[in-house]
């Protein structure tokens, strides 16, 4: 079955190509169903591959499949090869599963859109790129997938490109990602010039021969790429704006899959990371700082999707914190559980918007639980999961991360715990503002709206994801012999993985602390926001604007750049460049005008010139002969 691994990315690619040509003909629901089916089939194939891998010995669970030699240039031999191992198949499984559910949801969500089939072309192409990203066996192929998801993200964020804000949000996402890609590219150049190969196995095998400074540089540059893709400080600013895209896109790309690519990359290069402590520290601190900053920002958002976006950034920060503390398994575990509940949150938000005619402002919601019972129920499940209330999946995954952070440094743990409290609080605020309290949508809008529950095709994914959010924790329980994921991934990370040496009692203490913090946060939210929906002092502008980071970029980078560009375009180009060009032209024209007088049109004049020349040549010859 392993040999059929190439089918996994091939199916979405085929879907994208076929839909690009025949999507319009297939029509509105059919094209969506076709795309969903292909992604689901991809998931099924992934399951079979996973089972095949499971049957092998734990030391032999890596399979390399070369499809074609892609770029043979001298010493640079890059193959289009797929690497199937524990990490990639784990990613494949959760990517295809979540994608399939979101595809299904999109059939309902997008059914009124005139560009229905194009949407699914992009979605399928995105899934293909993501699968290439995670299944590649070398940096270049990963980069191809990396750019592919970036491009799909751009197209999907700007899907409603006739809206100005959507178009500029797409551009912003693309440009900010470029900065990270730049780091990735430089890292690849460094790797190739140092090691001479770009395949993962080759690079990891030669990790001992890389100097410590170079290694730090490589890992930090790769981390820059991850920062761009996974929206960490300082490049997180594109993600909130990316909420301009259709909600399934937000769920699929900007919560569940693409933004985790940075975490995946860090996990993939764990053999490199584990050799450089300074890089690990940087990753951990950046991750925690991002988590905290985003969590505070999320507390003050009025827009439901922006709140969720900051929540995503915060959770990604958590994952990087895990990576930075050497807890790769914890990072992957959080990634998987987060995929479930964050997708669920976004789809729930989408369902709310669907019911309220695309209303995103929470100040015009409230009391919706009576009108959307399923949406409200699943949304609350997701809230409890992300808050870390036991026994939801978030409790276990976040506990794992915090425990590893404590092992590294109590300060990290303290900040992490504070962030966990904030997480429970801000999502509780969103839940209460949306589903409880007065029904503000009755009075605020100019027109009469009647909230209604979404169709079944949208509710089914919600329910499935809710089950996942509730139960996904079982794959890696912090008890002996129940940590399946850790044991599964252990051969891969091996020595890179930090080994915890806490006693059972200590572990219990950590869990109690986590649970208490989560419940406290939830209760705090209920107490503050259940009755009231406006507390300006708790939502300061500083947090609403995410610590003025966007403003800082605008003031210190964008505006000077624009001024420089304007200067170049309107002053330098007009005066200097054009001056040189026009000067040359004028010079040529003037000299031409003068030289033109030589062309009298009288043949005999020309003949006279020729004769003079001939006489001069003769004189020269005569002088040579005479001497």
């Amino acid at each position: 079955m392993l040999h059929y691994a190439y089918i996994i990315p091939l199916l979405p690619l085929a879907g994208a190509v076929l839909l690009a040509f025949f999507g319009k003909r297939l029509g509105n629901p059919l094209a969506g169903w076709f795309a969903t089916l292909l992604v689901a089939a991809s998931f099924v194939v992934g399951v079979f591959v996973f089972l095949d891998l499971l049957h092998r010995a734990s030391s032999n669970r890596s399979f390399d499949q070369t499809i074609v030699t892609w770029i043979p240039v001298g010493g640079l031999q890059i193959k289009a090869a797929l690497l199937v191992d524990q990490l990639s198949i784990t990613m494949v499984l959760f990517v295809t599963a979540v994608s399939a559910l979101i595809h299904l949801y999109s059939i309902g969500y997008m059914h009124r859109d005139p560009q229905f089939s194009k949407f699914f072309v992009y979605l399928n192409l995105f899934v293909f790129s993501m699968l290439i990203l995670v299944m590649a066996d070398n940096f270049v192929l990963t980069f191809l997938g990396w750019e592919g998801v970036g491009a799909c993200s751009y197209w999907l964020v700007a899907f409603w490109f006739d809206r100005d804000s959507a178009a500029s949000a797409g551009k912003k996402a693309f440009i900010v990602n470029r900065i990270g890609d730049f780091g990735f590219l430089i890292a690849m150049f460094l790797i190739f010039s140092t090691v001479g190969t770009l395949s993962y196995s080759g690079v990891f095998g030669a990790v001992g021969s890389i100097g410590p400074t170079t290694l730090t540089a490589i890992t930090l540059l790769l981390f820059l790429g991850a920062v761009g893709k996974s929206a960490q400080i300082p490049l997180f600013i594109w993600l909130p704006d990316a909420m301009e895209g259709p909600t399934p896109v937000s769920a699929l790309i900007h919560a569940a899959t693409m933004v985790t690519a940075g975490v995946y990359l860090m996990a993939r290069v764990s053999p490199l990371l584990s050799h450089t402590a300074s890089s690990l520290n940087v990753v951990a601190i950046v991750g925690l700082a991002t988590a905290f900053l985003a969590a505070t920002s999320a507390c003050a958002q009025g827009d439901i999707k922006r709140g969720l976006a900051y929540s995503t950034i915060s959770q990604l920060g958590y994952m990087f914190l895990a990576v930075g503390t050497g807890a790769y398994v914890a990072a992957i575990f959080l990634m998987i559980t987060h995929a479930f509940y964050k997708a669920l949150l976004f789809l729930g938000a989408g369902s709310v918007m669907h019911g309220l005619h695309d209303e995103q402002d929470m100040s015009r919601m409230g009391g919706l639980r009576k009108f959307m019972p399923v949406t409200a129920g699943t949304f609350i499940v997701a809230w409890l999961a992300i808050a870390g209330v036991p026994p939801f999946s978030g409790f276990f995954s976040k506990g794992d991360v915090l425990m590893n952070a404590y092992a590294r440094s109590p300060a990290l743990y303290a900040f992490g715990l504070l962030t966990a409290l904030l997480t429970a609080y801000y999502l509780g605020r969103i839940v209460f503002l949306t589903f409880y309290g007065p029904e503000r949508w009755r009075t605020s809008g100019p027109e009469e709206v009647l909230p209604h529950e979404s169709p079944a095709v949208m509710l089914v994914p919600l329910v499935i994801l809710a089950i996942g959010s509730l139960a996904a924790g079982v794959i890696d329980l912090p008890y002996a012999n129940l940590d399946y994921l850790a044991r599964w991934l252990d051969p891969l990370f091996g020595s890179a993985e930090r080994v915890l040496t806490f006693s059972t009692g200590a572990k219990d203490a950590f869990e109690v602390a986590d649970g208490v913090v989560a419940v406290t946060g939830a209760l705090l939210a209920g107490g503050l926001w259940l009755r009231r929906w406006q507390r300006p002092r708790l939502t300061p502008v500083f947090f609403q604007r995410a610590w003025w980071v966007d403003w800082a970029y605008d003031t210190f980078i964008a505006r000077p750049s624009t001024a420089l560009a304007n200067f170049s375009a309107y002053v330098f180009d007009n005066e200097v460049i054009d001056g040189v060009v026009n000067g040359t032209a004028t010079l040529v024209r003037d000299s031409g005008t003068r030289l033109r007088r030589l062309q009298t049109g009288y043949v005999r004049n020309y003949a006279l010139a020729i004769a003079t020349g001939a006489a001069l040549v003769l004189a020269y010859v005569a002088s040579r002969v005479g001497s």
């Binding site: 004049n605 004769a611 006489a615 010859v621 005569a622 002969v625």
Partner: protein, 229 residues
Amino acid sequence: MPPVPLVHVPILAVTITDATVFAVSAAVIVAGAIGVIAARNPVHSALMLVMTLFGIAVLFVEQSADFLAVVQVIVYAGAIVVLFLFVIMLLGVDRLDVMRRDPLPGQRPLALVIGAAGLSLLLFLAGVHWVTGARSVAGPAGGPGSNVEKLARSLFTTYLLPFEVTSVLLVIAVVGAVVLSRRPSKEAEPEPPETAIEPEPEPEQPEAETAPAAVEEEPAPTGIPGGGS
């Protein structure tokens, strides 16, 4: 035959007939040449040119280039100058030139000065003892065998490619001349302003045009017999 010494053939070794032939021919040539540029009537110029050409043909014979002498007469006298005269007569441009006034100031004195300078330089160079060092590249000119045979052997072996290229050049020249002297087709001519009445095709007009055209197109192909010989 021993190699001919380059220059210094004492004049006494030359027979009187040869000297006479050269002198007469040279006189004819120079007189003809001056006649060409001095005659006010182009037809007279052409006749003077023929005179010069015959003189040169005689000098060719004198230098054992029999074939070239005949070809000179056939091509130059028989074709090129005939063509000149034909065009002169056809176009009716045989009126007298105005020689007095030259619209280009300074052209005449400059031409004379440069001509004098060039002539003196050429004469100086003609008297200089030249040694190029290269000889008999294409085969000897003297010795046994007819001049035609030697020339032919040279043309069809050493100079085969130039020979063939020259034939291509001739074809191009013929085609070019035909195209140039062809009357512009009816479509190219400016049409009279169209009236409201539907334009009637006039059957007589093409016939009336083709007759003089047939005569006028002749100068182009006449280049062939001379050039091809």
